[in-house]
């Protein structure tokens, strides 16, 4: 009895193995990894692409911009995604394209009286020179600065644009995603943070910077300054399929989807 049980399991496994090896697609997937700001868009477009090309699989992962750069440099992925002002020079030899632009909104709690700050004040808040809301609006309350974690492309771009060489205040708290920054600001009337414009909801209030609202139109027109490009980086000697997918992302149809979901298309 025992033997026949084992035989049954063995045969079952064998049949499964044969079945899987004959039905599985022999193609290697196109792999993307990196920027969490672009990840949801890449996932959506990948799904659409796979519907149109059933023989191809596209595998999208996050990890952050630094992962996108490192992985494409080492050839671990076919396409690395990175949102930052400029890519590091040690990957100058890799082919890259800007697939979209993304604005960064500065957010506070809806209960906060501040509606507008100057670009200069913003820099001073994040460097710690201003640490009380009374210097900005009328509330006398400590400002709680919330930053993205080290290595986030959003943080890198924001620090470069806003801090302008100064150091982030040591009082700053860190959250590791757009969503958690939004939740923290939403629950704290004295907090200030920054997220991608696409992640804005009615639970938080985006501040006007020098009188200009953080909207895609203003970023596109070039008057809202806090934004950065999203790069797609091809690994060295990319396969044709990866290049085709990259071109697909730049086509009008894909760019329209990117625009309708909150990023600024390049075409």
């Amino acid at each position: 009895m025992r033997i026949s049980w084992k035989a049954a399991i063995f045969i079952l496994l064998f049949v499964l193995f044969i079945y899987v090896s004959f039905t599985a697609k022999p193609v290697l997937p196109i792999r993307l990894a990196g920027s969490t700001a672009f990840q949801p868009f890449a996932e959506k477009l990948a799904e659409k692409y796979m519907e149109e090309h059933p023989s191809i699989t596209v595998d999208v992962q996050g990890g952050g911009s630094a992962v996108g750069i490192m992985a494409s440099q080492q050839g671990i992925v076919d396409i690395g995604m990175a949102d930052m002002l400029s890519l590091p020079h040690d990957i100058d030899y890799l082919e890259r394209t800007v697939v979209a632009r993304d604005g960064i909104a500065v957010i506070v709690n809806p209960a906060n009286k501040a509606n507008e700050i100057s670009f200069d004040q913003l820099g001073k808040i994040f460097s710690g020179e201003i640490n009380n809301w009374k210097d900005v609006s009328f509330d006398n309350a400590p400002i709680r600065v919330i930053s993205r974690e080290e290595g986030s492309g959003t943080k890198k771009s924001f620090d470069q644009l806003v801090l302008n060489g100064k150091k982030l205040t040591r009082e700053a708290m860190f959250q590791d995603s757009n969503g958690t920054i939004r939740e923290t600001v939403r629950s704290d009337p004295n907090a200030i943070g920054y997220i991608s414009i696409g992640y804005l909801t009615s639970n938080v209030k985006p501040l006007l910077i020098d009188g200009i609202a953080a909207t895609n139109e203003n970023v596109k027109a070039g008057i809202y300054k806090i934004s950065r490009p999203i790069f797609l980086i091809l690994k060295a000697n990319p396969k044709d399929a990866a290049r085709k997918f990259l071109n697909y992302l730049l086509e009008a149809e894909a760019q329209k989807i990117i625009a309708s979901d909150g990023l600024i298309p390049v075409k």
């Binding site: 990890g63 080290e150 958690t180 629950s187 004295n190």
Partner: protein, 283 residues
């Protein structure tokens, strides 16, 4: 034939048992391999006592994280131990069978809740409550202590219950026969009798608190500085590794492994103490 199969099964089970040990050694070996060269280069004292962590400028001091871990863990014990030991005493000595059958599974369920859910409740419910009632940002040592205190309850309760029920019944009978009340019996006879078991449970709970990452990242605010009050934001050693390991390169990455070496040391010491205490009891 049967004997042959028997031997094969026996050998493979031995192999499986040893592979667990091998995995442990591989993990330790890997962490130390990556971390020790950094410590040798940077210097252990500077690493342990430096209060600046700026990977961009090659400044790696983990004192704020060590203090953060210690504060949060101690806070968790202050919340969790009285609650846990108290619940265990109630369940073993005072509760009738029906109540026990309700509470015990509920506590076990508590252990099955993913830590991200604890973190979410911490950030959405507890943090605003702490901010409104105590000030600060709400993402603080206090919030983390409460959440972690609840998270370590199942460990403390189940081990305390085990060690209380393992006591010979003559202890209790003798004490009652001498005229002590149930409460006096608990305080003067049963708790001292089960002391080492309860301590072991507390230390295991402590290990869980110091190693917890996801919930802690969500509710401590992760500021890198030495806290001055209960309502300050802190970063623990585990959060530091989890927040930065994803993209760290070069010396920054080695520094995080060195951080893991320190954490490993902390947890090894705790577990060794727990094992020593448990062994002492069984003698």
């Amino acid at each position: 034939m049967n004997k042959f199969i028997e031997t094969i099964i026996e050998k493979s089970i031995i192999l499986i048992a040893f592979s667990t040990v091998a995995v442990l050694f591989l993990i330790a070996f890997f962490i130390f391999k990556e971390g020790i060269p950094f410590l040798a280069q940077y210097g252990l004292p500077g690493f342990l006592t430096g209060s600046t962590w700026l990977p961009g400028e090659d400044k790696f001091g983990i004192l704020p994280m060590i203090i953060g871990s210690i504060y949060v863990t101690l806070g968790a014990l202050i919340v969790g131990v009285p609650l846990g030991v108290g619940s265990a005493i109630f369940l073993v000595e005072f509760a009738n069978k029906r109540i026990r059958n309700i509470i015990k599974p509920a506590i076990e369920l508590l252990a099955g809740i993913p830590s991200v859910v604890y973190g979410f409740i911490g950030i959405m419910v507890l943090a605003p409550w702490v901010r409104i009632n105590f000030g600060g940002s709400g993402l603080s040592i206090l919030t983390a202590s409460i959440v972690l205190g609840i998270m370590i309850l199942p460990t403390i309760i189940s081990i305390t219950m085990d060690s209380l029920t393992a006591l010979p019944s003559v202890y209790k009978e003798g004490s009652i026969a001498l005229g002590a009340t149930t409460w006096q019996t608990v305080i003067m006879v049963l708790l001292p009798g089960a002391k080492s078991g309860i301590l072991a449970g507390i230390i295991l709970g402590m290990g869980r608190a110091i190693g917890e990452t996801m919930a802690v990242i969500m509710i401590t605010g992760n500021a890198i500085r030495i806290p001055t009050s209960l309502y300050d934001s802190v970063r623990t050693m585990t959060s530091n590794i989890a927040l930065e390991m994803g993209y760290a390169l070069g010396i920054h990455r080695s520094a995080l492994f060195a951080n893991a070496v320190v954490l490993f040391g902390f947890i090894m010491i705790l577990n060794t103490i727990a094992i020593l205490i448990i062994n002492k009891r069984s003698k």
